[in-house]
Structures are given as C-alpha cells and as structure tokens.
Amino acid sequence: MTLETLTFAATASSPRVRSDAEAGLLELAGESYPENSFEFFQPILAWVEDFLARDDRPLGVELRLTYLNTSSIKCMMDLLDAMEEAHLSGRAVSVTWFYDPENDRALDLAEEFREDLSLPFRIVPMPSEG
C-alpha cells in the first residue's frame, strides 16, 4: 500500500499542505490558527508517523509558516518530537524553517522549537511578501 498524498489548499487560518512520499518531503506554508488545530494537524502527524514507520528513507520537512497559534505550536511540537525520536534511532530527518527576517518574533519562535531538538534544523530567512 502506498502512502496517501496530502494536498490541502491554504485558507485564511490554515496553511497549504503538500506531502510527497516519493521525494520524502512534507511542506506547510501559510497561516496556522485553525478553529480546531488538533483536528487539522491529525492527518499530517499521521502521515509523518506512517512515513517514518514504513522504510528507512530520509524525511525533509519545509515550513513557511507566517503565524502559529498556541494549539498549532503544540501540534507542530508533537510532529517534531516524532521526527526527533526517529532521528535518535538513526533515521535521516531534517527540518528547514523559513521565517520573515523583518519580524523578530518569527525568529524567536523558530529558535524555541530548535532548542528542544537535536535533529538537523535549519532556520532560513525568506524574502518578505511586502
């Protein structure tokens, strides 16, 4: 059985999501303050857990999140904790977090995630959308 591909379009309060099991890539981009974050993130977390359970291919996660509410932060931490566990057992996993360099808070948020993890975690400025 092949892994389901996630493709969610962005809304005002939820990010665009795209998963590619072939490439071992998960991308999230946009705002994240859905009405029910746990419900929104559940299939994304399930996809990551399934991907990590299946074989031993690398997983890269690319995040371009402009805003996260606290329940989205909690869901993202759960997702990163699952990746951290895989990393500690020798799996190749990595995170690239793109942030708006004009917003100090965006960098603080990324760094607060990274300081709790030992997996490869790059924090990269993205050009502002104006």
Partner: protein, 180 residues
Amino acid sequence: MGDLDQIRRYLASEGILMSFNGPFRHSIIEELGKAVRRHLEAEAVRKSAMADVFTVFIEAAQNVAAYAAQGHWTGPERAQAETGVLVIGRRGDRYLVRCGNYVRSQDTPGLLARLDALAGMAPADLKALYKERLHAEVPPGALGAGLGLIRMARTASAPLSYSVAAEDAGLEFFSLTVTV
C-alpha cells in the same frame, strides 16, 4: 444609542484603533484577524509589534470561542457566552489589546487563580512552564493546549491586567488587558 459622533470622539480620545462587540465565531475571528493586520499595516506599525498584537488578539479571541463551544451552556446562555468585546488601542508607543466575555461564576475562581499565578512569574519561569505544557499530553477533547494565557503573559511588556464584574444569573463579565 448615543450620538455617533460622540462615540467616535470617545474612541479617538481613548486611542482606540479598532473595536468589536459581537459573537466570537471562527469565521469572524478570521475576518477580524485580517482587519487587525491591515489596520496595523496602514498605521506603519513595526512588524514585531504587529505580530505581538496579532498573537494576543488570536489567543484571546480563540479562548472566548473555545470556552463558548464547551457543552455546558443552555441555548440563550450560549449566545451570551459567544459574545465578546475586543478593543485594540495605542497608548504612547505601546499597544493595548483588551478582550472581555461572559464566564460562568463557578469558572471564575479557577481562571483568576491561573492568572494570579502567571502574574507572579518571572520571564524564565513563564518560559519553563510554557515548555513543560508544550511537551505534555493534551487531555482528550481539549480544544486548546492550555498555552494561550501563558503565551499572552510572555508576549506582554507589562503584567496582564484582569478583573471580573458580577452579572445576573450566575454569570460574570471577565475583562483582560494585555499591553504589548
């Protein structure tokens, strides 16, 4: 309703940039969120201040919505529970986000105790508590991670200010002011 020009003058004299009084449903929070961003952009507010105002607005509004969405309300009470007041204002180089909503009288001691505990905490302790909650299990059925008030306290540049006023029929009106 009073004279509209009088209301306008009052809002201007209080430094109020935006105000809303009505149901805090998700679709409305989304629209208000867009309005908050556009309004602050038009005022040429620095991006980090804008992010702080937006953070406090979202956390406060979603707290009201999540509280109202709990199952313990009867029909007419529920409409009242959803109703909230939101005011965003400027005072000097600071921004104030004020949010108010109805809370059942039996829920206010717990809410005030949580806020009192946060009020006495140094930034390092707030961060430690935030991290502890971030890695903890969320109880099944919870609509939030219990992080909203902690994040507001961490975002604020002054202690959170809050009060409750008795209303009729076992309800109290809770007001929260966050300065960023």
